[in-house]
Amino acid sequence: MEALTKKLVEAFGPCGFEDEVRDLIREEVAPYADEIEVDQMGNLYALKRGDGSGLKVAIAAHMDEIGLIATHITEEGFVRFTNLGFIIPHTLMGARVRFADGTLGVVSRDKARFVADMDKMPGVDQHFIDVGASSRDNCPVKIGTPGVIWQTMEVQGSRWIARCHDDRIGCVIGVEALKRLAETPHDVYFVFTVQEEVGTRGAATAANRIEPDVAIAVDVTPASDVIEGFPMQMKLGDGPGIKIKDMGMIAHQGLARLMQRRAEEAGIPYQPEVLLVGSTDARAMQIAGPGSAAGAISIPNRYTHTTSEVVDAADVENSVRLLVEILSKPIAL
């Protein structure tokens, strides 16, 4: 899975521009899915058919990552931009940007020379990107060109460091679970969604299309085991989180219990998750159409929405195992 993770986290896919990621995932899932489809929004569906005795289940991982988009090119050839999804402005200064056409740029901010201003944090709109152009005309980046903060993946021991585990690691887990899922009673739709970071838009469309009975998002959650971390219990390496509540939803309690029971039966470590910030695709799938019993598998992730997110390889493996356990057995709600 390490190789697949490297491939996916080094692919380009900010919100609304997920094509490259989708092509890579499609290649991976094609041999294992009974049907493959892409909808008008760009969501990728890989259906694994059940034996007819189970439910309709949607497993969602979002392909998009937080990114940026050019809003204005100055006469001197600098690129002004806005965020696609929630960029933490602190991560911008000195970062490298890769635009859709491969152009590289570096980020600085207005009045960066004033050391006295260093304790102030300007917004995204007070930053600019230098791509080496000398004028608006010779700047290869145009208004509307999307970009991402660029970083390669590094591995150190069991820790995987990358710029967008959120949520390519969820995609990796979805792909791997599909590969390992020999038999299932359920019709399982592995959905690789678009535009999660701008408001779970792809998942809403996908759930309206599928109308699943059960909907499970696979996404990262902030690990709290750092200096003055989030006031919650979520440790890196202690197993996947099983969602009970976050800011956007309360998980289906029967489903959350069933997920915990499956983990216990199979001896998979897990952590019950009550998250005080953020939400996932499950939020949108829960309320779409006739509604679904929704939950989530959450991969503990340090430094979420920065250029160096950190997950533990054991959590990734255990998330796949948990997902396969859940999907290969009956789901009684």
């Binding site: 006031p231 509540k245 309360i250 019950p272 005080l276 309320i287 509604g291 019993a293």
Partner: protein, 358 residues
């Protein structure tokens, strides 16, 4: 059942947003004698059907009163001197100012009583002696050893408030969860009244789930049931001491019939006509923006559903002493029943035509 007893039963039922089952069980018992079928759906909403007398396929009216209540959830079990204490967070719009010194019930592997407490003021550092305790200062103490606490209670368990209904003088009651069990009581009264009266339309009474968090039950039930029209019921602000001038509805002045962007004027008019026919007290209230009630999502389900909204005046919303007037609850139930009885088979065509003319 006497309305006072009905309100007591409903207020004291435990149905936090996301785990409404104990409340819907109580409501199902209340509705069962008056309806043709009843079931809880996948998302926790209770749906009861009372068939109309018209020829099938009959038009269908959805009544939606949310049955969930604001509550708390365990986020951590911490140990101090060998005892277990629970950290909690809010489920729905909890006002932290009423948390300190509440009695609660923790819904762990069994129901366990607890108290929501902090250090007495004099034991706190001086700079923390004023102001409300937030979740970082408060712990639920269940009196158990750390080990027993961990065995019985897990992160994610719900915690509900332990408050009995209080009967005030002058026909008023105060208690928890009267937002929105007062409306559930009104729907119960409506169903009871309809039991002996002929009505053309099918009535789909929904005790909807998770309104306090995201209007989930109403949105999904409306999609699933696809009714021809709907009326949502909720509580709304009544005036009290020191209330803003903009709030001028008194307790005891009858239901509010709301007009806002969620409301179809035809339904609104029919509700007013029903109130006038009964010579019942009511207040016609109008405002801009969304109602923040079930009506908001029912209106936009499927291809759109003509929706009305009745609000029961209530003081002290989202506290443990939510106060309503028993007569207002009864008036709301009677008004609703009258509205249902007056619905003709071609009602929707009528209000659509009126809309076009206007």
């Amino acid at each position: 059942m006497e309305t006072l007893q009905l309100l007591r039963t409903l207020s004291e039922a435990r149905g936090p947003s996301g785990l409404e089952r104990a409340a819907t069980d109580v409501i199902a018992d209340l509705w069962q004698p008056f309806v043709d079928s009843i079931a809880v759906d996948r998302l926790g909403s209770l749906v009861a059907t009372k068939n109309g007398s018209g020829t099938a396929p009959r038009p269908r009216l959805m009544l939606s009163a949310h049955c969930d209540e604001i509550a708390l959830m365990v986020t951590d079990v911490v140990e101090a001197n060998g005892f277990g204490f629970l950290r909690v967070t809010a489920v729905g719009g909890v006002d932290i100012r009423h948390l300190y010194s509440q009695r609660v019930v923790v819904h762990g592997r069994e129901d366990i009583p607890g108290v929501l407490a902090s250090l007495p003021t004099r034991l706190l550092p001086e700079d923390r002696r004023s102001g409300a305790y937030g979740f970082e200062d408060l712990m639920v103490d269940v009196g158990l050893s750390a080990e027993s606490t961990r065995n019985l209670i897990r992160i994610g368990d719900f915690v509900t408030f332990d408050q009995h209904l209080v009967e005030l003088v002058n026909g008023r009651v105060a208690g928890k969860a009267l937002d929105n069990r007062a409306s559930v009581a009104a729907v119960t009264i409506c169903l009871e009244q309809l039991h002996g009266r002929a009505h053309v339309w099918d009535v789909l009474a929904v005790a909807s789930s998770q309104e306090e968090t995201r209007l989930l039950g109403a949105a999904t039930s409306a999609y699933r049931l696809q009714p021809d029209a709907a009326v949502a019921l909720d509580v709304s602000y009544a005036t009290s001491y020191n209330a803003k001038d903009s709030i001028n509805v008194e307790l005891g002045s009858g239901p509010m019939i709301d007009q806002c962007i969620n409301i179809h004027p035809g339904i609104n008019k029919a509700l007013i006509d029903a109130a006038k026919a009964l010579e019942i007290k009511f207040t016609h209230v109008g405002y801009g923006g969304n109602s923040g009630t079930d009506a908001q999502y029912i209106q936009i389900a499927r291809a759109g559903i003509p929706t009305g909204l009745l609000s029961i005046p209530q003081r002290y919303m989202h506290t443990m002493v939510e106060t309503v007037d028993i007569k207002d609850v009864e008036r709301t139930g009677r008004l609703l029943a009258e509205f249902v009885v007056r619905l003709s088979a071609d009602f929707i065509d009528t209000i659509s035509a009126e809309m076009l003319e206007a």
